[in-house]
Structures are given as structure tokens and as C-alpha cells.
Amino acid sequence: MLTPEEWTAVYLSLKVAFWATFWSLPFAILTAWVLARLDFPGKGLFDGIVYLPLVLPKVVVGYLLLIALGARGFIGQYLDAWFGIKLIFTTAGATVAAAVISFPLTVNAIRLALEAVDRGLEVAARTLGASRLDVFFSVTLPLMLPGILSGALLSIASALGEFGATITFVSNVEGQTRTIPLAIYSATHMPDGDAMALRLTLVSIVLALAALLAANLVDRRIRILIGRV
């Protein structure tokens, strides 16, 4: 059905999307909480920076990542020297690019869910003897689960579709950074690449549909579980 090369691209895409979402989710929850619940000087600027990757051209984001995290980047050189982490031309780098691009979407979905949580319930929990942290884990977090789920789904979807930042930051290396969109792009540049591009397009559609259906199912389960039907 698919050639080994195509399977590699599909497998790589799923891997990048999964790990990008996995690593960014805790930070997205924390950022959403800070934006929804705290007030501090410079919050407007912080808010702007969080949403910046959404409005900047993806190529610009990729280039900024290259400047910062590249082999001679001001952070990248230490990542390599101290931890031996190389991001250029690697799957890890593609994962970082996908995570950065999808971060604002994830934060936004979670923030909306957080703002919908009745703060009266949190006050009630505290009068029952729960500390702030306890309240967050026993009341707030369970009630924002649907938002976290839709945030995660958006993150996976946007990571699967990431192109501009990835190709700029970590280039188009087969087996390392060539995800489905990059593989389609390469295919369209090859003579006789049409069939490959079409097959990968079909795979993209199937993946997107499967993700949506799964999310719908889990969402309904969660809503029943937390009494929001």
C-alpha cells in the first residue's frame, strides 16, 4: 500500500506529533493557568509572546529557532556542549518546532476551559480544608479535562500539519525530519512523485478524521464522568 519511505514519514509524523504534545501539555496548562488566574505587571507582553507563533509566518518562527537553538545558536551551543543534545537535522528538533507552533493553540483551548470552571467550587473546596494546590488537582484540573483534551487534539493536528518552521529549522532529512507534509512537498518536486503525494494526502485525511472521531468519543466519556452532560 505504502512504500517503506512513506511508512517512515507516517511513523515519524505520529512520533513528532505525540512527543510535541506530550512535552508541551504541562507547560501549556501552567501558562493557561497563569494567563487565566494571575495578574501581574507585564502580563500583556507575556500574553503577546505566548500567542506570537500563531501570528508570525512559520518560516520566521523556524528561523528564530535556528538562531536560538542551532548548532551555534546562543542556547543551542550549550545544549550540545553540556547535554549533548543536537536539534539540527534531528527528530528532536522537528518535535521542538512542532511544539512551539502548536503551543498557542493548546494554551488557548485550555485557558478557555479554565475560565469556564466555576471558581465558587474552588472556594468551597478550600472551606473543606483543601490547600490551593490540592484544590487545583482535585477540583480545577478534573473540571478542565475536556479543554485539555481539545487542546491536546489541536496540538496533535497542528503538529501533524507543521511545515514551514520545521523545514526552516531542521531541514528535510528523510527518517529524521521528513514528516508527511515535508514528504508530500518533496514528492511534488520529483518526477513521478504524484502517486506518492496522493497516497500521503489520503493518509493525512484518514489520520485527521480518526483523531476527530477519537476526540469526540473521549470528550463524551469525560463529560459524563465529570457530570457535564
Binding site: G120, T127, G129, V139, G227, V229
Partner: protein, 367 residues
């Protein structure tokens, strides 16, 4: 002893100044119209709202003291809070809601048992259900149970009946009475309902526009003429603490004895000897100079006028002493003049209607 002495101002002009002490037992009602600052006071006691100045202490432990910079966090105060809107956790079953506070209390300090609370509030059939499947009344009972099981040293109730219809109120009131009579737990009860205060409270703190206008035993405070602006003209009245002295099944009447007198009321469903509180509104008491003959009124009591307070408008409140009890009669100023009413005068009080509240529904269970 619950000591509250706080000041608080909010943008928009709302200012609250309240100072009162409440006994460490029984129900203390914070009573007043909406906007009087009742809820703000219990929010301050719970630690949800921070006053600008003043002090709050419960059983000698200071919760808040602006001068000394003390502000104990909400979760460390151990006050149970029953909200007007129940606030059950939607993602937890009724049982897990009930256990939420219990699990977070010290295991060694759990005088209030799960089974006791479930039985007291009649919520055993609800344990496995989810909050969104409960009726308003059921929700409020579960919320009360959840607050009790957190092993509080003080229970705060913010108009727990206000969001319920009359039928649901009637369903919950007996549970509140049982709670009051069976748990050794001081309760601060916010209400704007005269009926609820008279039925449940032992002590009342009356508030008006953020200021305390009266505080003291319910029977005494609710009879005061300065309560008129809060209670409303025709609800001012007196409370008499009585015991059921006998039943007269032939006429379906009961007699209630109080020191120095007796009232005849429609038969009450309580054994002889049971304590009850009789509520007599000022407008239901008429006065006569001589013992009236041939009247249908069955409660005719000799009384002495203690004081006459002329009110604005046509009315005057005549404070009466009947035996050891006190009554108020609301008459017109014109009547005061016509009959020559004055302090010290012997009169006959004709009581047209008496409302009777049980003080302890479990009293006199078969022994």
C-alpha cells in the same frame, strides 16, 4: 464565643461595619434585607473576603486581626460553609462529595461520623448519585452533610433555603432543626426571612445597610420596635417560650403554658411537656380596658402595659407584660389616645392568632 468586629469598604459605596459576639452554641441568625452585608460577614469569617480592618476570633483563636497582621488561610480555619447554591463538585458522586472534607480533616479529630450525618440528613439513598441528578433540596442536604463532615468548629450557612421553592424549603427546615438540636455546633445562619429566623435561631444579629441595628436573644430582639424597618410593619411580634401543657382532642386544641399564662392553639402534634415557641405578631394582638365578654377570641390574657412607642404614621407599639412573658400589640395612635393607654395600666390582650414552632422535634420520643 464568636467575636466579629470588622470594617470593610468596597468600590461603589458599599461599606460594612459590624461588631457582635455570638454564643458558642445554638443558631445565631444574621438577619437583614438583601444588601445589608450579611453574606459579606460570613465570607469574612470563612476567610473568603478580607476586611479592611478589625478582628475575627472563634473560640479564642484569632482568624483575622488587621492590627496584628493575622489572616489565617481559608482551609486552616475549619469552618463549614453551606452556600446558597450548594456548590457540589459535579465530577464526584454524592458520597465522594461528602467525603471530600472528611478526608482532609485530622483522623484523630472526627467527632462527626459519616453514618450519623447520612442518617441525620436522610441522604442514604443518594450516595451513589451524581450532583446533577439531584433536586435542589437534595443538593442542599448533601452540601450541609459535606460541610459537617469536614469536622468544622463552626457552621456558616448562607441563606441555604433562598434558592428553593416553598415545598423544598418545607422539606429542608426539619433537617435544619434536627441539626441544631442534635449537633453541638455553633451555627451562623444568614437569612432575610423572618419565618426562618424565628423558627431556627436562638440569637439574632440584625443588620441594615452594613450596620448592626440590634443583637441579642431572638425573642427579645424581634419584638423591638426598631426592628420595624427590617421586619416590616406587620411582622413585628413577640416570642413566648412555652411547653405543651395539655391536649383537648374534643375540640382539636392544645394548651401551651408559659410562666404566668396559657395559650390555646390548634392541636400541636407533640407530647405534653414538649418545649415549643409561640410566635405572636403585634398586629394579631388587640387590647381592651375591661375583660371583654362574648368574644370569639380564645386567648384572652390579663396584661400590664410596660411601654408605648409611637411610630411614624398611624401606628404605635404597645409593649405588654403577661405574667413573665412579653407581648407587643400594634394599635393606632388614635386608639392609644381614645383608650387612654399608658405605662402601668392593666389591660386585656386579645390574641387572634398564634404560630407555634417546635423547639426540639426529637423531644419525648418513646422512652
Amino acid at each position: 464565643m464568636i467575636e466579629v468586629d470588622i470594617r470593610l469598604a468596597r468600590p461603589g459605596g458599599f461599606a460594612l461595619q459590624a461588631a457582635f459576639t455570638a454564643p458558642n452554641a445554638g443558631v445565631t441568625a444574621l438577619f437583614g434585607r438583601s444588601g445589608a452585608g450579611k453574606t459579606t460577614i460570613i465570607q469574612a469569617v470563612a476567610g473568603v473576603v478580607r476586611p479592611d480592618a478589625g478582628r475575627i476570633a472563634v473560640e479564642g483563636e484569632t482568624f483575622f486581626d488587621a492590627a496584628r497582621g493575622i489572616d489565617v488561610p481559608i482551609e486552616a480555619r475549619r469552618v463549614g460553609y453551606v452556600f446558597q447554591d450548594a456548590r457540589l463538585f459535579p465530577h464526584l458522586s454524592v458520597e465522594k462529595n461528602l467525603r471530600y472534607g472528611e478526608r482532609r480533616s485530622r483522623a484523630a479529630e472526627r467527632p462527626i461520623g459519616f453514618d450519623t450525618v447520612v442518617e441525620l440528613l436522610g441522604i442514604a439513598p443518594l450516595l451513589a448519585r451524581r450532583p446533577h441528578t439531584l433536586s435542589g433540596g437534595e443538593r442542599q442536604r448533601v452540601a450541609i452533610g459535606r460541610a459537617l463532615l469536614a469536622q468544622p468548629r463552626l457552621l456558616l450557612m448562607d441563606e441555604p433555603l433562598a434558592s428553593l421553592d416553598e415545598a423544598r424549603k418545607a422539606e429542608i427546615l426539619p433537617y435544619l432543626e434536627r441539626l441544631r438540636d442534635r449537633m453541638r455546633l455553633p451555627i451562623l445562619y444568614v437569612s432575610h426571612s423572618v419565618d426562618e429566623v424565628l423558627r431556627l435561631a436562638d440569637t439574632v444579629v440584625a443588620l441594615r445597610e452594613g450596620k448592626q441595628v440590634a443583637s441579642g436573644p431572638v425573642a427579645e430582639v424581634m419584638a423591638r420596635p426598631e426592628m420595624v424597618p427590617i421586619v416590616g410593619r406587620f411582622d413585628v411580634g413577640a416570642l413566648l417560650d412555652c411547653t405543651v401543657s395539655r391536649h383537648d382532642p374534643a375540640y382539636a386544641l392544645s394548651s401551651l403554658a408559659f410562666p404566668g399564662g396559657e395559650l390555646r392553639v390548634p392541636q400541636v402534634d407533640l407530647p405534653v411537656g414538649a418545649p415549643v415557641r409561640a410566635r405572636v405578631r403585634g398586629r394579631d394582638v388587640a387590647l381592651a380596658l375591661a375583660r371583654p365578654a362574648d368574644v370569639s377570641v380564645s386567648n384572652l390574657l390579663p396584661a400590664i402595659i410596660e411601654e408605648i412607642r409611637l411610630q411614624e404614621g398611624p401606628y404605635a407599639d404597645v409593649m405588654l407584660k403577661v405574667g413573665e412573658g412579653r407581648l407587643t400589640s400594634t394599635v393606632t395612635r388614635e386608639s392609644v389616645e381614645r383608650l387612654g393607654l399608658r405605662p402601668g395600666l392593666d389591660v386585656w390582650a386579645m390574641i387572634k392568632s398564634v404560630a407555634v414552632d417546635s423547639r426540639n422535634p426529637d423531644f419525648g420520643a418513646p422512652t
